[in-house]
Amino acid sequence: MKVLVVEDDRALGMFLQKGLRAEGHHVEWVGDGDAAVEKATEMQPDLMVLDLSLPNRDGVEVLAELQGHFAETAVLVLTGRSQVEERVKCLNMGADDCLLKPFSLHELIARCRAILRRKSHHVSPILKHGMLEMNRMDRKVLRGGVEVELTTKEFALLEFLMLRGGDCCSRTELLMDVWKMSPDAETNVVDVYINYLRKKLSHAHLDGVTSEPIIETVRGEGYRLTGSRASSGAIKIAARASGPRMAAA
């Protein structure tokens, strides 16, 4: 998921960014109200973590701007002010939740998870492809019912491939969307991680008995998942040009 952190305290902003990145989100951080609106326009975040005390344009003004133009973006408000009226005002203006400072990073992450879970309530967080099953909320992957432990990057790579069903994904696309790197970057990181994934997914299946390869190389093009296509009820999954995310049918 794409998350925008808006916090004028640089150190705190960086820690929130690190903590949410460790959760596997794509996270950007800005330090003032004007930059928040500008960045939100550019990245269309799924979630904004918004501090109220901001230079240039305060959090309430940002919230008002969001209400008009970014109805799809969920908002978690952070505040150090203890007045209940202020929190009520923010919730009435469209914020999804408020968190009073000081708070624990674990609580912030859990609240973000809850907001995103509610937000995607109408869309199943489960992606399926043959024997492969991914829960994007719990960040769990199963192959044939066996859990596969993946790193954040491996998870993001597999998520991108699964969102594409059985369609081919080029190395350039993977480099840009999963690693946020330039298409000209001279690196074999995609091939290395595809190999990691292949190994982990094959080990997880049938207790060491050789299984069907789940990721296929398309010569001169890239990679794709083999076998039957994705299914998750009546939900149509689409990978957007700006990165993978869910879309309701």
Partner: protein, 81 residues
């Protein structure tokens, strides 16, 4: 009455000023514990000490205004006697 309102406003601001470094400290330490490698833990401790300095300054300001209010209270008690 007006002085009381001013005092409450000041306490509110001082509490707000304590919240920021305390949140940063909490998040720094939790992130350090999550990473758990030596470099992350060292960074968390060093950064944590910077945040405690800010907390000390905040507590100093609160103590100062408390002492000011207490001496004002004693003065008014003396006048009443």
């Amino acid at each position: 009455m007006q002085r009381r309102a001013e005092m409450l406003k000041r306490i509110e601001k001082q509490l707000h000023d304590l919240c920021q470094p305390l949140t940063t400290l909490q998040c720094r330490l939790e992130l350090g514990a999550m990473c758990a490698d030596e470099a992350s833990l060292l960074e968390a401790v060093q950064g944590g000490l910077q945040e405690t300095e800010k907390l000390f300054a905040g507590i100093g300001a609160m103590r100062e205004s408390l002492q000011r209010e207490m001496s004002r209270m004693h003065e008014s008690e003396d006048v009443e006697e």
